[in-house]
Amino acid sequence: MAVERTLPTSEAQDLLDLTRGIADKELAPRAAPDEEAGAFPRDVFALLGRSGLLGLPYPAAYGGGDQPYEVYLQVVEELAARWLAVGLGVSVHTLSCFPVAAYGTDAQRADLLPDMLGGAQLGAYCLSESHAGSDAGALATRAEPEPGAVPAPRAGAAEAGPDAEPAGVPEAPGYRITGAKSWITHGGAADFYTLFARTGGPGSGREGISCFHLPAATPGISADPPERKMGMSASPTAVVRFEDVRAALESRIGAEGQGFAIALAALDSGRLGIAACAVGVAQAALDLALAHSRERHQFGRPIGDFQGLSFLLADMATQTAAARELYLAAARRRDAGRPFATQAAMAKLFATDTAMRVTTDAVQVLGGAGYTRDLPAERLMREAKVLQIVEGTNQIQRMVIGRALAREARTTEGPAGR
């Protein structure tokens, strides 16, 4: 059932029409078989790139779509409703582009963004480590600044092999990066990695972290075999290793030590993408359950006519609609240039918990058939679970919201309590 949307412009309407067309024809038929086979649909991302869907919230000057988050997120929702691996992939890619787009120099943006936003390059976001998940500020991947300019070796004719560097070109100082990143969506499949690593010494805390943009082909970068996950098998999640990787100075995004602030700012926006994905999954589950409740007859009536199921469906629809409005409200704050981090956390928390509940209820509505792999209900339920975990567990979201409440209470508290 197509969701009726209020969109700000006719071009947004056209964009959503384009998205639905691609989602129905190219995503929906492949979701079940490709998830079963664990096949990453790189070709689908290429198509989305050609169609202009991989850089929607970024400036048109760099190949983006110049769309507000209110519109971009509804595109993500439509994609996720047909196939979460693709919807989430678009959200993660968009997140990976954020540091260069928001904190890159003009030269970095002009150099990097066209391929990133045009879909030629698929991105991955490397923040978490095995011992630094929720506590991302404790990350240990090291980016060691190189001392001064390193003159390139002046190879004599006798020693110069075919691989010798061109003589006499001085190499500017950069960084040597060593460490491992965990739970990386598109790990091993991405064309570039947005990496957060420690440029300060041990114990430098959050202020010692910097952000880097590294092509996946950079020597020393490798990925482990993908994790064997409960769902989303078509989307590779892997440990990405950095072994004495040389990063040029120009690959650093923002100032040294600014990395953690960049990471958190990126995640504020990324969480809205996860919320949109969750609403897409919930909507897909609701549509499936509703259709089944009309087709399936017991006791001579469609089972949806029984109050027990009718009320269940009513709750599923209400929660899904509320989750959509919550992420849209946060998105509109972002689009208006107002603070939105707390609202983004609320949207992520509510939408992903809703997706879990609605997909579980959808399995219940479908009964025994819902528990089989012949129908997508059980897959949607497995997919919903990961959304409560990624880009800040829902416990972390509550922490973010709780801290904001306490902060607000402190600033509004007068001597008389008000």
Binding site: E11, D14, L15, L18, G21, G52, L53, G65
Partner: protein, 259 residues
């Protein structure tokens, strides 16, 4: 090489399609209008030829005002401009009249090649391409599954029951395509935005030099005298296998003259 693609707006085959009981013509309000599917293949082939040989791709549509939506869609696939032949006098025109009217509209354009889908999903006469070529006095290359242009020569593979014929002609020519010719592209968001600014020229019957005494429902050579919805599908035959299922299935097929 300048190419004109003929694009027809048809009712979406995914929705219920009806004729209007007033005059037995299509009830356009009853369902959403979309580009005739085979015309999307025609647009794609024209764009591929343009990418190879240069020139411009122009969309030509005959139809009422709401056909504008389909014109925009065609432009958002990458066509350069469009001509919309729209006139109340054309309402109810049959296939021959449509071919005549399109030939007159084409007379106002400069082109080397006309490409169209080999039939529409609504009327399905499949003769407009051939009739149009006759009106224009141009070679007709119909049912093309492959098109190659080399200088002034155009060569197609014409799909047949036994495989294909290779047919060659000199430009300008009219080519109708079948769906195996290519895979139509999706529009991109950027092209959708650009399409809003691309020129769409409206052409009346008078502008095109169409003799209105020759077109429209009242002057049509063919007339739809009655219509009926397709009968609902009858329930299938269930054969229960009690050791003789194979024989029963064979008997069923023989009875229906399948074997």
């Amino acid at each position: 090489m300048n190419i004109v693609v003929l694009v027809k707006q048809v009712p979406d085959t995914a929705t219920e399609r009806k004729l209007s009981s007033d005059d037995n013509t299509l009830d356009r309000a009853a369902s959403d209008g979309v580009i005739n599917e085979l015309d999307e293949y025609a647009i794609e082939e024209a764009l591929l030829l343009k990418e190879k040989h240069g020139g411009e791709v122009t969309i030509l549509t005959m139809g009422p005002d709401q056909a504008t939506d389909s014109i925009r869609k065609a432009l958002s696939m990458g066509a350069d401009k469009a001509v919309h032949l729209v006139d109340d006098a054309l309402h109810g025109s049959d296939a021959l009249q449509t071919a005549y009217a399109l030939s007159k509209a084409l007379g106002t354009l400069e082109f080397d090649l006309v490409v169209l889908g080999s039939e529409s999903t609504d009327a399905r006469t499949g003769i407009v391409g051939a009739a149009l070529a006759e009106y224009l006095g141009l070679p007709q290359l119909t049912l093309a599954g492959k098109v190659d242009v080399d200088g002034q020569a155009i060569r197609i593979q014409r799909a047949t029951d036994y495989g294909h014929d290779v047919v060659e002609a000199q430009l300008p020519a009219v080519v109708s395509v079948v769906e195996k010719i290519n895979e139509p592209r999706y529009p991109s968001f950027k092209l959708i935005m650009q399409a809003k600014k691309k020129p769409v020229a409206k052409l009346s019957a008078a502008d095109a030099g169409i003799d209105t005494a020759l077109v429209g429902l009242g002057n049509a050579a063919t007339e739809t005298v009655d219509f009926a919805p397709a009968p609902p599908r009858a329930a299938g035959t269930v054969i229960k296998d009690e050791g003789d299922g194979g024989v029963k299935a064979a008997d069923f097929l023989a009875e229906k003259k399948f074997v």
